[in-house]
């Protein structure tokens, strides 16, 4: 006998309701636990950033600052030069995003739509380069930049952070391009479109989720750039936020108040940028993955 799930007399329904409830409760509990674990350090940093020095290490710890103060924010934004560092980070991140998106779109288009010798090798070679990691790249980049006269310039940070993210974005773009039916290209060709027009007018508008996903990845990558920015620049006027934050770890100890205030200040723009794009980001990643599989 076949039982229907929506049958009110069905014995399965009687058990399935609490089972579903338990499953949902477990799921929500897990999400809540995960949220608590991931958000706690952020909330703690936020709370610390509004505490006076004397309260930061008080025992028992205060979760809501008793001596609520804007002193730490005043020191980094008014006395310090964090606006300048934020502008540097914005400039480097936005330029890096533009460059890496442009390059990776071309790479993705070429490798998904054209057949040429060594295509697979190039793609895996790029991917292999990612496995080396940025720490191993620092010293060669340092010597390269000093030899070609790019040391201590914005250009070297933009170039290096773009170069490090292009392989990942190229794979993402290639996957997404593949998910777009080739018939679209053929129809456009019949209508007289050339490759350039097919790319800009037909395919690119369909690539929105992948472009957003790529932009988010490239922005986060460039925004959080630390080791390259610290090694390849020296001048204070070229400092980016992560490097500037590192200066709060002094030989005389860590300046926790300023450090947490600066960290919150540096995190907010990226949160504001990513949240509205969340939907496209997930769509871009998943569609690309499915397309390439």
């Amino acid at each position: 006998m076949k039982l229907k799930m929506n049958d009110k007399y069905n014995v399965l329904n009687f058990y399935s309701v609490p089972r579903k409830l338990i499953r949902n409760t477990n799921k929500h509990m897990f999400i809540l636990l995960y949220l608590a674990l991931t958000l706690f350090p952020f909330i703690w940093a936020l709370s610390t950033s509004f505490k006076p020095q004397s309260e930061i290490f008080a025992l028992p710890p205060t979760y809501v600052p008793k001596g609520f103060t804007f002193e730490n924010y005043y020191r980094i934004l008014i006395v310090g030069e964090f606006w300048r560092y934020a502008l540097n980070s914005i400039f480097i991140a936005s330029t890096s995003v533009l460059i890496s998106l442009l390059v990776s779109l071309f790479v993705g288009y070429a490798t998904s739509r054209y057949k040429f010798i060594g295509k697979e090798f190039i793609m895996f070679f790029m991917l292999g380069g990612m496995a080396i990691g940025r720490f191993a790249n620092v010293i060669p980049l340092y010597f390269f930049s000093t030899r070609v006269g790019l040391f201590d310039t914005y250009f070297i940070i933009i170039l290096s952070s773009s170069a490090l993210v292009v392989p990942l974005l190229s794979w993402l773009m290639q996957g997404y391009f593949r998910s777009i039916p080739y018939e679209l290209d053929e129809a456009a060709k019949i209508d007289g479109c050339k490759s350039w027009d097919i790319f800009w007018k037909i395919l690119l508008p369909s690539m929105k989720p992948a472009i957003v996903a790529g932009a988010v990845i490239a922005t986060v990558n460039a925004w959080n750039e630390f080791i390259l920015a610290m090694t390849l620049t020296r001048s204070p006027h070229l400092r980016v936020l992560p490097v500037a934050i590192n200066f709060f770890k002094t030989e005389l100890g860590v300046q926790w108040g300023e450090l947490t205030a600066a960290s919150i200040f540096a995190t907010l723009p990226i949160v504001i940028f990513v949240i509205p794009l969340q939907r496209y980001f997930i769509q871009g990643l998943t569609s690309g993955t499915l397309g390439s599989s």
Binding site: F57, Y142, W196, L252, G253
Partner: protein
């Protein structure tokens, strides 16, 4: 046509981005003025508000005023100074003058990053200038050449909470037994009697642990550079740390995962009874805790007559091999070494002076600077050089990991842990 238009747009974007480079860079721009200028690699910022930075800036400004030589700061984080100096020297991008960490002196000798200064010294310094230095041999290499001049000295001591001591009517501990007794008396669940950082995450253990090892008759490294802290004396020193946690319960087991900065912060917040701490952090701690709540004492010893020694380190000034203006850089070092300037810097910075004439100045025997008086006296009587081979970084990490294992694995034989650590280090640096 459209293809051309798009190609033109891309070329324009590239051109605009390229044109931004010189506008937004600046690091490569040559100074227009013909005034003399030297580049200083440092972790002091010119607009810094810390006492050391203010003091240093004052000397720099006076130097520029008197000599016409400008000093351009290149600021990197303090723990990056040595790396940046070596990198810039290797790439032919050297600063004219640089801070050099005293503990990394052997590393710079191995990397050949610094110029010998003996010829300048012979030319410009008198024998009385040399004799005025508290420790002239600081910065002298085995080739007999002097390469660096100290800015100040840094020594370790036992920092004790005066108020806790007075509340229990206790006196300052001078021996290990007394230290344990005092720590037990002031120990509470929220305020450990004694705390030390055993986490290798911030490896500074040589500074405070080498004195303890030496007090027990051990050594960190031998004459040939091999690690030898697994000697009977070394084992006793490690045993002291383990027993503080597991036998006497005066130190929480958290010590195994706590860093130097965290210990300082906890002490400054009034949450620890006693710590081993450096002179350079005295003023920072005092500003948070209050001078009246800090008592300084030599690191205890086996008996009252022989306290543990104190490691003497410090930041120094050296001239890199690739310096483009070595004469001007030497002028600055010479200027900083003048008694009146060294005195002014020491007064403002609150650091231990490097000249005898400065340390004997009445300012440092007044109450306001009694911590300087204490440290100068301690250094003079019991100062030792810190173990600083070219592989000091590897040595301190190995030592830190051994300390961590000793305190976190109470059932493992200390000798076994130390033998393994010593073997690992000696093999790592090619001495085994």
């Amino acid at each position: 046509m459209k293809e051309r238009r798009y190609a033109l747009i891309i070329v324009l974007i590239v051109l605009v981005l390229s044109s931004m480079v010189p506008v937004f860079s600046g690091g490569q721009q040559e100074p227009v003025q013909e005034e003399k200028e030297i580049e200083l690699l440092t972790f002091f910022t010119p607009d810094g508000t810390g006492t050391r930075q203010v003091g240093f800036k004052k000397i720099v400004d006076k130097f520029t005023e008197e000599t016409g030589i400008k000093v351009r700061y290149t600021v990197v984080p303090w723990n990056q100074v040595n790396t940046q100096l070596i990198l810039s020297e290797l790439s032919g991008n050297s600063p004219d003058i640089s801070f050099v960490e005293g503990e990394k002196f052997a590393l710079h000798m191995a990397e050949d990053t610094l110029r010998p200064l003996t010829s300048y010294i012979k030319r410009d310094m008198s024998s009385s200038d040399i004799e005025d230095h508290l420790n002239w041999n600081f910065g002298v290499h085995s080739d007999g050449e002097k390469y660096v001049f100290p800015i100040s000295y840094l020594a370790m001591a036992l920092f004790i909470r005066t108020d806790l001591l007075e509340a229990k009517g206790l006196s300052v501990p001078a021996t290990w037994d007394e230290l344990i007794a005092v720590a037990k008396a002031i120990n509470t669940p929220t305020t450990p009697g004694l705390m030390f950082p055993a986490s290798p995450a911030q490896a500074t253990q040589l500074n405070w642990f080498q004195p303890i090892v030496e007090n027990f008759g051990g050594k960190i490294i031998g004459e040939d550079g091999r690690a030898i802290f697994n000697s009977p004396g070394g084992v006793k020193a490690f045993q002291l740390l383990r027993s503080a946690i597991h036998d006497h319960k005066i130190t929480p087991v958290d010590a195994g995962s706590i860093t130097y900065d965290e210990v300082t912060d906890m002490f400054a917040a009034g949450r620890i009874g006693m710590i081993f701490e450096g002179s350079h952090r005295y003023l920072t701690i005092a500003s948070r805790l209050g001078k009246d709540k800090i008592t300084l004492a030599p690191i205890p010893g086996k008996d009252k007559s022989s306290p543990s020694p104190t490691t003497v380190v410090g930041w120094t000034l050296g001239i890199p091999r690739g310096s483009k203006h070595p004469e001007e850089a030497w002028e600055f070092i010479k200027y900083f070494n003048r008694t009146e300037n060294a005195l002014e810097y020491a007064k403002i910075s609150g650091e231990i002076p490097f000249l005898k004439s400065v340390s004997e100045d009445k300012f440092f025997v007044e109450d306001a600077s009694e911590h300087i008086e204490f440290f100068v006296d301690y250094i003079n009587k019991h100062g030792i050089s810190i173990a600083s081979p070219a592989t000091a970084e590897e040595l301190v990490v190995t030592l830190a990991e051994a300390i961590q294992r000793v305190v976190l694995e109470p059932s493992t034989d200390i000798q076994v842990i130390l033998d393994a650590a010593v073997k690992e280090y000696n093999q790592m640096v090619g001495l085994d």
